[in-house]
C-alpha cells in the first residue's frame, strides 16, 4: 500500500508512535524514527523496520524547537530522498489540577504537543506542495474532545491540534495534501499499567467495548489514513476509543 513512500513519525521510539512506525513499514514505507531522549529504543525500532525490508533511520529532535525541526526534515530529505507522510505523534504530559498547575507545566505541554505539530507541519509542507501530494496525520486525544480533569494543559493542546488539523486541511487541500487526526481513548501503556485495579475498573465502565485499546488499534487507523484508501478524507478526527465518546 505504501511501497517506497517515506514517512516521518515523531515520538516513535515507544508506545503508539512505535506501533505507527511499524505499521507504516509493514505497508512498505521507509520510516524516519524521531525521538527526544530514548536513543536505544529508537535504534531498536529502526532495526525492526530494517528487518521488514524497509529503510529506516533515527533522528533526535525536539519538536518544540523550530531549528531542530527544520534540521530533522532536511536530514530526512537527505537520508531518504523525499517525504510523503508526516505523523505528528510526539507528546508529553504534566498533569495537575488547574488550581495547582504551574505556568511552566502549561507552557511545556503546549509547546511540545501543539506548537510541535505546527512546526513539523510547516516544515514538511514545502516538500509536499512541490510533490502535489502528502498525508499528515496528527495524534490528538479523545480528551481534546471531551475534556478531562487534571489535564488542562494537555486537553487544551489536543483540542488545539484538532482545530489545527481542520485549518491545515482547508489551506492545503488545493495542493492535494490531506490532513487528518486520530483521537485515541484509553490505550494500554506504561501509564495505564501503573493504575490501580479500582482505577482500571472505573475506566472500563466508561468504555462500551469494555477493554483498553492497544497501540496497534491506533496504528492501523493511522495506516489507513496514510494509504490511498483514504484519499477522499481530509480534516477529520477519528475517535479510536471503544465508543467512549460519540
Amino acid at each position: 500500500m505504501l511501497k517506497d513512500k517515506v514517512a516521518l513519525v515523531t515520538g516513535a521510539s515507544r508506545g503508539i508512535g512505535r506501533a505507527i512506525a511499524l505499521e507504516l513499514a509493514s505497508q512498505g514505507a521507509h520510516v524516519v524514527v524521531n525521538y527526544a531522549g530514548s536513543e536505544a529504543k529508537a535504534q531498536a525500532v529502526v532495526e525492526e523496520i530494517e528487518a521488514m525490508g524497509c529503510k529506516a533511520c533515527k533522528i533526535q529532535a525536539d519538536v518544540s524547537s523550530e531549528d531542530s525541526v527544520k534540521q530533522m526534515v532536511k536530514e530526512t530529505m537527505t537520508e531518504l530522498g523525499g517525504l510523503d507522510i508526516l505523523v505528528n505523534n510526539a507528546g508529553i504530559t504534566k498533569d495537575n489540577l488547574l488550581m495547582r498547575m504551574k505556568e511552566d507545566e502549561f507552557d511545556q505541554v503546549i509547546n511540545t504537543n501543539l506548537k510541535g505539530v505546527f512546526l513539523c507541519t510547516k516544515a514538511v509542507t514545502r516538500q509536499m506542495m512541490k510533490q502535489r501530494a502528502g498525508k499528515i496525520i496528527n495524534v490528538a486525544s479523545i480528551v481534546g474532545v471531551s475534556g478531562n480533569p487534571g489535564q488542562a494543559n494537555y486537553v487544551a493542546a489536543k483540542a488545539g491540534v484538532i482545530g489545527l488539523t481542520k485549518t491545515t486541511a482547508k489551506e492545503l487541500a488545493s495542493r492535494n495534501i490531506l490532513v487528518n487526526a486520530v483521537a485515541p481513548g484509553f490505550i494500554s501503556s506504561d501509564m495505564t499499567d501503573a493504575l490501580t485495579e479500582e482505577q482500571k475498573e472505573n475506566m472500563l465502565a466508561m468504555i462500551p467495548l469494555a477493554r483498553l485499546g492497544t497501540p496497534e488499534d491506533v496504528a492501523r487507523v493511522v495506516g489507513f489514513l496514510a494509504s490511498a484508501n483514504a484519499d477522499y478524507i481530509t480534516g477529520q478526527t477519528i475517535h479510536i476509543d471503544g465508543g467512549m465518546v460519540m
Binding site: 514545502r126 506542495m129 512541490k130 489551506e171 488545493s174 495542493r175
Partner: protein, 78 residues
Amino acid sequence: MAEVFDRVKEIIVDKLDVEESKVTMEASFKDDLDADSLDVVELVMELEDEFDMEIADEEAEKINTVGDAVNYINSTQG
C-alpha cells in the same frame, strides 16, 4: 537585470499558467495574474530554489508584483 526578469518570468508562466505577455514588471500576482495567497507562497519557494537563496517571511510578504520579486532578487545578487 534582464536575465533575472527572464528567469522569473519563465517560472511565473510555468507555475501560474499565464500568457507571457501578461508578465510585466508592473503586474500584480493577485490582481493581474490570478494568483491566490498560496500560489504566491509557492512562487517564492520556486524563486528560492532557482536563485539558490532564502527569502525571509518578512521579505516575502512584501512581494506583490513581478517587479518586487525581480528587484528583491537583484538586490541580493550583488
